[in-house]
């Protein structure tokens, strides 16, 4: 709780401007005021539900009805929670995670919950960056059901985010044993090994899969695998400096799933690094509801020197502030990037990047910390990351360039 001195609360001019720009940018024809208002037109569209939510309406209604009739029944709760989690991803809206968590309320605090609950709980924890509870739940699930491919896969991905590559690889390898299809395991291993000094080999091992995945019928499951494979290939190619291959893989991935947010974000980052901000705008147009995409758009607008950059920055500022107002502190990677490249505050960016590094150790996390340390003129603060990079053997041409600059700055 916070207390202020004797005073009266009121909207500052800045809040009014923010709310107004937000309203306009949400595509709503709201008047340019920050205060609430009564619309004149009954037909004014206030909110558009995501397509995925509309499409799931019938199925969701049925699942919710079943759950309402028996809220303590596992058989009713698990499918509903799983559906909510799927919708969270499809709609890029974490409130669905909250619904999933509430659905699992009868088992939420139980250490020894049923296995389906454990895996779903792990997913919800992972979404909130509670990695240790997530791993605990997965370990508990695997102790009961060691052939649970989903659990091994989630476990591998969490360990990968944490930079624990050897453990992640061990989880990936288990997939060969528990799944008849070797493709997820191959993709998993290439993904992780590609971060641990095996980028070229991983690429070569994975590239054939891209062709084969496409040959199958584009069913939902294969599409998901294809997109994963292509995004890993794109990432590897970009880091190794093969821009043409990266572009090819990203575009193919987007042709399968135009709205895949992680893929869009990765492609946008690649385009920004290639110095093609106009292409970023083309790709992200009308797709900036998810905050990570809004960030990339803002970076592109800034690079192009557009006036709309200020608008995007205002919107992002408001979104970060809203998250902070409710006590959320898990978006430091993006906030660090935002603070450094859009607000120009290197010291604050470095603080955020360092906090982020305690939790996540992917290439992007290393990179923003190095950039911030360089910009803030304190290369010594990058020492820990430099040691880690050397130990893991990450191959990334952008990071390599930063390392070189930092070493020169540090020695001068």
């Amino acid at each position: 709780m916070g207390t202020h001195g004797p005073g009266r609360a009121s909207l500052s001019a800045r809040e009014v401007v923010l709310a107004a720009t937000l309203a306009m940018s949400l595509g709503l024809s709201l008047p340019a005021v920050g205060e609430p208002f009564v619309p004149q037109d009954d037909g004014l569209v206030l909110e558009r539900l995501p397509r995925s939510v509309i499409a799931a309406d019938r199925e969701l209604a049925a699942l919710r009805k079943r759950h309402r009739e028996a809220p303590d029944d596992l058989v009713a709760a698990v499918p509903l929670a799983r559906k909510y989690i799927t919708l969270a991803q499809a709609a890029a809206d974490p409130r669905w995670m909250g619904y999933a968590q509430a659905t699992l309320a009868p088992w939420w605090e139980a250490r020894a919950a049923p296995v389906p609950v454990l895996t779903l709980r792990a997913m919800i924890h992972q979404n909130r960056h509670d990695f240790d509870p997530a791993l605990d739940d997965l370990d508990a699930a695997l102790a009961v059901d060691p052939r649970n491919g989903q659990a091994w896969l989630i476990r591998a991905m969490i360990l990968r985010v944490q930079g624990r590559h050897d453990e992640a690889l061990a989880s990936c390898r288990r997939l060969f044993a528990v799944l008849p299809d070797p493709r997820p395991a191959t993709a998993c291993i290439s993904d992780v090994a590609g971060l641990a000094g095996q980028a070229r080999r991983s690429y070569q091992a994975l590239a054939p899969l891209a062709g084969r995945a496409m040959e199958r019928d584009a069913g939902q499951q294969d599409a998901g695998l294809a997109v994963w494979v292509l995004s890993v290939l794109g990432d590897l190619a970009a880091r190794l400096g093969d821009a043409e291959a990266a572009e090819r893989h990203y575009r193919r991935g987007l042709s399968i799933d135009r709205d895949h947010v992680p893929l869009l974000a990765a492609y946008a980052d690649f385009l920004l690094d290639e110095g093609r901000p106009a292409a970023v705008r083309d790709v992200l147009i009308d797709r900036t509801r998810p905050d990570p995409l809004l960030l990339r758009l803002a970076l592109a607008q800034r690079a192009l020197g557009l006036a709309s950059a200020a608008d995007s920055i205002a919107r992002l500022t408001e979104r970060f502030a809203a998250a902070r107002a409710r006590g959320e502190i898990i978006h430091q990677r993006e906030e660090a990037r935002f603070t450094l490249h859009l607000l120009g505050d290197a010291r604050d960016a470095l603080r955020l990047a360092a906090e982020n590094w305690q939790v996540q150790r992917e290439p992007q996390d290393a990179r923003i910390l190095l950039e911030a340390a360089l910009a803030a003129g304190v290369p010594a603060r990058a020492a820990g990351v430099l040691r880690w990079l050397e130990k893991t053997g990450l191959e990334d041409q952008a990071i390599a360039a930063l390392v070189e600059r930092l070493e020169r700055a540090g020695s001068s």
């Binding site: 709780m1 207390t3 202020h4 004797p6 005073g7 009266r8 709310a19 937000l22 949400l26 709201l30 205060e35 609430p36 208002f37 009564v38 619309p39 037109d41 009954d42 037909g43 004014l44 569209v45 206030l46 909110e47 539900l49 989690i85 799927t86 969270a88 991803q89 890029a92 809206d93 974490p94 409130r95 995670m97 909250g98 619904y99 968590q101 509430a102 979404n127 909130r128 649970n148 491919g149 989630i154 997939l175 799944l179 008849p180 299809d181 997820p184 695998l225 997109v227 895949h260 992680p262 998810p290 905050d291 979104r319 809203a322 409710r326 006590g327 898990i330 978006h331 990677r333 993006e334």
Partner: protein, 384 residues
């Protein structure tokens, strides 16, 4: 067997599609919040509650025609349902007793993550509360990550809190309980109000203008000693202080009540009389008595100001004393600044003959204008 394995594969691969995207990095930044603003004045509550349309759509359904858009018409029509749902999930107690809440107008507003329904709230508590408990249960069994962001204004402080529907109802003190901080804040108000209280200052100034002089044989002469001047001023200021403290306390505690217009008019008259007395000296001795008598009226004038500051029912005395001390400090500051000049001025010949009478007449003129305005109720709503 094969079916089971296929289910595993399907599940695993479906996981892949969701997996990377389970990261928060790909989502809108935050789970669901509602924004609740409440203010408490006496026993009355006022406020506003912003609830996301997406949340309302999920719990009570807004998209009547199922076309995937929520229009103003659909929200407007559902206003009773929205209000009923919201009010059923909010319970406010003042000092342990339930406060009644009603929903007023329905509006909309845009936040960083979408459009929100805005409910105007109003209500009453059985008594003027000094502490408020807020039981917040919106989306309680529906969204485990939902939070209510509360901004509460009551008495003299603004507080914020993050309300969790799963937690027991928190209690908020509406008044700053720290006596020292309260004292200081009211003292500051006292200083401020004497500084902007031109009529009080002018009264003092009018009384002090001849401080460097004494009346002797029908004429003004320079005062003999600084010590004597000092004593004279001290008596006047102290008498004034004691008098206005007395009536301020009586008025605030409700023992005395005089119409504001009468009080203000008499205050203006007191300034006129004090100023004119310098030009046509009728009272030359025991000016402190004059200060005392008129001080009683000035105190009632301060009471009006203090009442406007929304006093904490449990700390009236602290507030009173604090405010009084503030007024004293302000007064002393003015007197201390002016006094040396007055002592010196006493020796300047044209002071007694020209400057002092002229200054007094000017003061009388200004105060006379006030008197006319206030007596006839001509002035616009003012600061004093």
């Amino acid at each position: 067997m094969i079916r089971g394995l296929m289910a595993h594969v399907i599940a695993a691969i479906a996981t892949v599609a969701t997996l990377a995207a389970l990261s928060t990095e790909v989502m809108a930044h935050k789970p669901s919040d509602s924004y609740l603003t409440l203010s408490v004045a006496d026993d009355r509550l006022q406020g506003r509650w912003d609830i996301a349309l997406r949340d309302l759509e999920h719990v009570i359904g807004l998209d009547a025609d199922g076309d995937g858009t929520i229009t103003w018409g659909e929200v407007r029509v559902r206003h009773p349902g929205i209000a009923a749902y919201a009010l059923s999930r909010l319970r406010i107690n003042g000092d342990g007793e339930r406060c009644e809440l009603q929903a007023g107008e329905q509006l909309v507003d845009a936040h960083s993550d979408g459009a929100y329904a805005v409910l105007r709230l109003s209500g009453t508590c059985p008594h003027s509360p000094s502490r408020l408990s807020v039981q917040y249960r919106l989306l309680a069994s529906v969204d485990a990550q939902h939070r209510g962001l509360l901004q509460l204004t009551g008495g003299d402080i603004v507080q914020t809190a993050v309300l969790n529907p799963q937690d027991p109802a928190p209690t908020f003190e509406l008044y700053d309980r720290d006596p020292l901080r309260q004292f200081v804040s009211y003292a500051a108000e006292g200083v401020w109000h004497i500084w902007i209280g031109f009529d009080h200052i002018l009264f003092l100034v009018a009384l002090l203008l001849p401080a460097g002089l004494i009346r002797c044989d029908g004429r003004w002469r320079p005062a003999e000693s600084v010590g004597r001047v000092f004593l004279q001023v001290a008596k006047i200021v102290t008498a004034f202080t004691i008098a206005h403290s007395l009536t301020l306390a009586c008025a605030v505690l409700g023992i005395v009540s005089v119409p504001a217009r009468l009080v203000e008019s008499i205050i203006a008259a007191s300034v006129v009389l004090a100023a004119l007395n310098n030009v046509f000296p009728l009272i030359t001795a025991r000016l402190w008595l004059v200060a005392f008598l008129f001080g009683l009226i000035h105190g009632l004038g301060f009471a009006g100001v203090l009442a406007g500051l929304d006093l904490p029912p449990g700390a009236l005395v602290t507030a009173l004393i604090g405010f009084n001390v503030g007024v004293e400090i302000g007064q002393l500051a003015i007197v201390a600044a002016v006094l040396p000049l007055l002592c010196l001025a006493g020796h300047w010949r044209s002071y007694a003959r020209a400057a002092m009478p002229a200054g007094s007449l000017a003061v009388a003129a200004v105060a006379g204008l006030w008197l006319v305005e206030r007596a006839l109720d001509l002035r616009p709503p003012d600061l004093l």
